[in-house]
Amino acid sequence: MRPIAAMLLLAILALAACQREERDTRPQSALGSGEQPTPVTTLEPGGQRPSPTDNKAASFEANAFHLSEGKRLFGWFNCSGCHANGGGGMGPALMDEKWIYGSSMESIHATIRDGRPNGMPSFRDKIPDDQIWELAAFVRSLSGNAPSSAAPSRNDDMMAHPSENRMPDAATLGKSP
């Protein structure tokens, strides 16, 4: 009796390995959803700026497919032209712990969608909204803010920095506080 129970348990455990990440190959076509205006100053009545929230952030953040699509689009749309592989150039660095407009997915999404003062253009009409979410998720992975099990691994060609799944958390540099 006992061996049968053990086999059954093993079989159930093995079945658990069949769980696979959902891959959304038919992203929504909408342009610039989530009509939350991007604040242009840090001055807010009451002193506390409400942070925008969107339930899409959670579904894109730790999804390996979306992160790798974000990496592809980052290259295709020439983000490196200003942000230089995340190291920063004409635009600010994306791989450090400094976030001018906050580190949340929602504010990175708003930055790409609506643009920001001093150079960041608006891509509201140029990139389908789901692709903006993919880009935002990838940008977070540049500073080690994505789970290493989901973040893209090494490139096929020369790399400017360690692969995203090996990037230390920029805020702690991998050290525990």
């Binding site: 190959t25 992203p27 076509s29 909408a30 342009l31 009409d125 389908p128 096929d156």
Partner: protein
């Protein structure tokens, strides 16, 4: 009855082989490389068939013969043994000769293939992408370098050198009517020389599994007389045609304002993306999406409205457009001859 069956069988074989003719068949060669390979295919198949039949007969003979029980199994029959030994040695010798012979044939065929492009008049860089072909005509004059997609025009009767590479995964370039297949490998340049004897359209296909839409990664080699080819090249170098109607003009504006502009290039406009097929003369091509759809107004609209329905997994996203916007963009693209 037997006669009828054999006639039916011969007809069936003939009809079956008929399927091997046409614009994509290694058994219907239209160029020197493919002829060489087709000859090899037939010779190898024929010789192997003969050997197979002989082996089957040799196996069948002892099976049919009634076994004789030797009177004295322990007494050696020197004559019979040496006869058997001779048969085995002859068979082994013949096998060795045939194998070496076939190897030599294959070697000399390869030499012929390698010699085709020694005096190539034209160099074309073919880059594989998931799931389309980028085609770049090299020229010493930079202003005559031409980039197009999926359709490769070549002058008929002249050897052409193809430089094959890839940007994502391994693909393989195979136009069976003209040549054997050769892989497109990221970070490596492979060289394939082709020549089409006569003008015509020859279909090619990616021959290395490269992802979800591997089957829909077709290409066309269009061989034309030299004068027609030169005229085609000069036409393709021109910037895109100006939109003729108000609708097409609106379509151009939309193309430049919407996500299309992020990836595609249209010469003569600010659209300069290089990660998707060049659309400067898209309507002059015969098919859309690497041989997936025939070029027509309806298919253009279907492809733009729902690329993920036509070619699931392709990198062209579904873009939100209303009916008027879609019609305008299609009217514009349709005019890009």
């Amino acid at each position: 009855m037997k006669r009828l069956a054999s006639i039916a069988f011969a007809t069936a074989i003939a009809l079956f082989l008929q399927g091997c003719a046409g614009w994509q068949s290694a058994l219907d060669p239209k160029g020197p490389a493919a002829s060489e390979l087709a000859w090899l295919i037939w010779f190898f198949t024929g010789l192997c068939a003969v050997v197979w039949v002989l082996v089957m007969i040799a196996l069948a003979i002892p099976l049919m013969m009634r076994s004789r029980v030797r009177a004295e199994p322990l007494v050696l029959d020197a004559g019979a043994d040496s006869r058997k030994l001779r048969v085995v040695i002859t068979a082994v010798g013949l096998t060795a000769v045939i194998l070496v012979g076939l190897t030599l044939l294959s070697f000399f065929a390869n030499r012929t293939l390698a010699a085709i492009g020694s005096d190539a008049v034209l160099t074309i860089r073919v880059t594989g992408h998931q799931w389309w072909w980028e085609v770049r005509y090299e020229d010493a004059t930079p202003s005559r370098i031409l980039t197009t997609a999926n359709e490769i025009h070549i002058p008929a009767g002249e050897p052409v050198r193809l430089l094959l590479t890839s940007t994502d995964v391994i693909h393989s370039f195979w136009v069976p009517s003209l040549s054997g297949k050769l892989d497109l490998i990221p970070g490596r340049m492979n060289v394939l020389d082709i020549k089409a004897d006569k003008p015509g359209v020859y279909r090619g296909q990616c021959a290395e599994f490269c992802g979800a839409q591997h089957a829909n990664m077709g290409t066309f080699i269009i061989a034309e007389p030299r004068a027609k080819f030169d005229a085609w090249w000069n036409d393709q170098l021109q910037p895109a045609a100006e939109p003729m109607s108000d609708e097409a003009k609106a379509g151009e504006d939309l193309f430049l304002k919407r996500p299309c502009v992020m990836c595609h290039k249209i010469g003569g406009t600010p659209a300069g993306g290089t990660v998707a097929p060049d659309l400067t003369h898209v309507a002059s091509r015969q098919t859309l999406a690497a041989g997936t759809l025939r070029m027509s107004r309806g298919n253009l609209a279907a492809w733009i409205a729902d690329p993920q329905g036509v070619k699931p997994g392709s990198h062209m996203p579904v873009v939100q457009l209303n009916g008027d916007e879609l019609n305008a963009i299609v009217a514009y693209l349709e005019g890009l001859k």
